[in-house]
Amino acid sequence: MNLALSDEQQMLREAAINVLARHDTVGGARAARDGGEPVEIWPAAREAGWPGLLIDERHGGAGLDFFDAMLVLEQCGKRLAGIGLLGHLPATLVLARAAADGGERAAAELPALASGERRAAIVLARPPADEDDWAVEAGSSQGRWGDVPRAVADGGDADASVRVSGAAAFQADLDGADLIVVPVLLEGAGLRAALVDPAVAGVSIERQLRGDASRPLGSIELDGTEAVLLSAGAEALTEAWHLGQALLAADALGVAEAMLEMGVAYAKDRHAFGRPIGSYQAIKHQLVEILRRVDSARSLCFYVALAAEQQPHELALAAACARFAAEEAADYGTRTCIAVHGGIGATWEHDAPYYWRRAQLSRQLLGGATGAGERVAAEVIARARDSELADAVPVGDVVIKDGLAEVSA
């Protein structure tokens, strides 16, 4: 058993810390709420080699896995960086799968995406859990989910031209992307991935500002838009959705960690009634609760790593568990950090509110924490149904023992 970071992963993590420390992304998150732009760090991401993380070496990438990407995203969350990777990485995953399946167009796109010369984005579709259909965030007050865009084509061959109509909302990094991967329902051929050039006629992309301005968010409308069909379908799109969940989880974990550090530092420094407020149990126990949730979320990120590498059938449950735990940690962590600071923590010039804003939006994206919970339930119930032993799980005695302890001598 080995659940430790490899030397390469340690280096990747440290590089991310160093790269992001050189940019005032937290200040940028504030400025963006005041009408400015978030800090542009795509060039720094390019220099660090992150755009090609999930693209194999044959196509100019690093050929790494989910967990490596999560290590970078965790640091992005910790520094409120909105970097383009949330859209780019799942898009490159689908293109890489298409290229592996012989797709020439996808293969041709990959080198420029791996170097970061061009940036991709994706509309992520929710795979069915029980008997529901594939769906995309619709951003409508009538209902949260909408249909996957429809495509009409002459045939279902790879790299074939299609016309796509449909819409989706609240997708990451759409604005300014050089190409966009879109899930489409193709008549007679089911779910496929298609490639849209945002510059062609019939594409309308709008920025959406919802609470948090630290990560660019947008909606897209396609109206008979020309697109290229990729040789990737439900399998690759399912994987991309779970990658999206995993990246958001890692980012939210970073947010929660930042809050733990900020809250602990303040609780050591701030005095009330003659002693540091961190010495009071009321404060201390809340900070330990952030630690507990951070620790759970981190453990579940390791579960994602193992599932992605070795047990693909576990990926849905792992990603949903990590997402659920991390969003809860970020929500609790941001609220608690603000409370530990008292009133000053809830002011415009303090940093904590921008973490809170990020957490509040994050827990709504891609089906949100609730959607992740629903996926966990569906997976756990399905496993219980499948297991003949389900009824025989013993519910007997529980380990209880003497034990105790003030360990603080």
């Binding site: 430790a4 201390k284 620790d295 579940l300 756990v380 603080s408």
Partner: protein, 402 residues
């Protein structure tokens, strides 16, 4: 990164599996947890396991163990369970007390006590907590006084698992009330059948009596009952508690409070389609699955030679949270029927479990100070002689010179 066995571990697993399958007919029915009605057949089985070096897997070979790591310990537990065999019954003895004696005992003590403990020939219990000292363990009042031939013990212990089946107990007592509380404690081996020892079952909220109270009335001990130095008992007890953390980590997998436990009774119930019920189920499933991977992470550290810190206590909080939420969910779906029978019993375990193995509050305080580095609570009693602490009458009586 992987959960797989190394080639050596895979070989070891195969060996253990073959043995377990061959010998399963000799095993008494497996039990979960630490409490059995009739301990005798389990002790015989433990002896059989010990002869195969399947007990005390992490103990040094010189004391009858296998000299292997926590991963191998998990392999043994998993394979015995999978084959339908019982595991060991003396969890606390093998997990904590034996290792403490091996670490701090004299060579004579190791030669005398460790092998019979391992083979299930002599049962043991841990005598630390008292009615007036749980979280503040160093505040114990049981006294050990010098006599002509050794020591005399008087006082009371509580929450003692297996005391009714124990031949010996590892006891923390106060040898010097004139110094601050941590500095006047010593550790002893007490024969539980000695005159003056009385064991009384303690009936809990569930109605069962899984614990005991143990009373000591001028119990005479020989000089060689002392484990470690006089007034050095606090350090010895820290070793015991460090081993306890390791045991809690590897026991997490065995706790019957997993997500599946709580889904099973609800299968086929229309409430399982209710989004609210599903969110509650997700919440406890996530908590429980996270703990499994937290345990794997901790075991990775152990395998790398790091000692588990107080943060292992976070796992206990998580287990209890998931267990309580699960019991409430089952009850909310099944209604009053869930308050009797096995579900009623499990639910009734939960309120007390919050304080087992350290109260949630003391765990949080310790972790906040040790792991997060937060400033300590003011501890007014830290520098005062124990006898001068304002306490209850028992202590004051002790403090009066007789």
């Amino acid at each position: 990164m992987d959960l797989a066995d190394t080639p050596q571990q895979a070989e070891y697993r195969a060996k253990v599996r073959a043995w377990a399958e061959q010998n399963r007919d000799a095993s008494p029915p497996p039990v979960r947890g630490m409490h059995v009605e009739d301990v005798a057949p389990y002790r015989v089985w433990q002896g059989k396991l010990a002869r195969e070096r399947l007990v005390g897997v992490t103990w040094p070979e010189a004391y009858g163990g296998a000299g292997l790591g926590p991963a191998e310990q998990m392999i043994v537990s998993a394979e015995l369970r999978a084959a339908g065999c019982a595991g060991i019954v003396d969890h606390i003895a093998i997990g904590e007390l034996g290792p403490t004696i091996i670490a701090h005992g004299s060579e004579e003590q190791k030669q005398r006590y460790v092998a019979p403990m391992l083979h299930g020939e002599e049962g043991w219990c841990q005598l630390f907590s008292e009615p007036a000292a749980g979280s503040d363990l160093a505040g114990i009042q049981t006294r050990s006084k010098r006599t002509e031939h050794g020591w005399s013990i008087s006082g009371q212990k509580v929450w003692t698992t297996m005391a009714q089946f124990a031949d010996y107990g590892l006891l923390l007592a106060r040898t010097n009330p004139d110094v601050p509380k941590h500095k006047g404690l010593s550790m002893f081996i007490v024969p539980m059948k000695a005159p003056g020892v009385a064991v009384r079952p303690l009936r809990q909220i569930s109605g069962d009596a899984n614990f005991n109270e143990v009373f000591f009335d001028d119990v005479a001990l020989d000089e060689d009952a002392l484990v470690g130095p006089v007034d050095g008992g606090w350090g010895v007890s820290m070793t015991t508690l460090m081993f306890e953390r390791m045991m809690v980590l590897s026991a997490l997998e065995e706790l019957p409070v997993g997500a599946q436990t709580f889904v099973a009774p609800l299968l086929g119930n229309p409430a399982l389609d209710d989004p609210h019920v599903r969110q509650r189920l997700a919440e406890l499933a996530v908590e429980r699955i996270a703990l499994q991977y937290t345990a794997y992470r901790a075991l990775t550290k152990l395998a790398q030679g790091q000692i588990p810190g107080p943060e292992a206590g976070l796992g206990k909080i998580g287990v209890m949270e998931a267990g309580r939420k699960g019991c409430e969910l089952v009850a909310d779906v099944l209604g009053p029927d869930a308050l009797e029978g096995e579900w009623g019993e499990l639910a009734a375990e939960m309120p007390g479990m919050r304080s087992a193995g350290g109260t949630e509050e003391i765990l949080r305080t310790t972790i906040g100070e040790r792991v997060l580095g937060l400033p300590p609570e003011p501890r007014l009693d830290k520098k005062l002689p124990f006898k001068d602490l304002g306490r209850n009458s028992a202590s004051e009586a002790e403090a009066v010179p007789s």
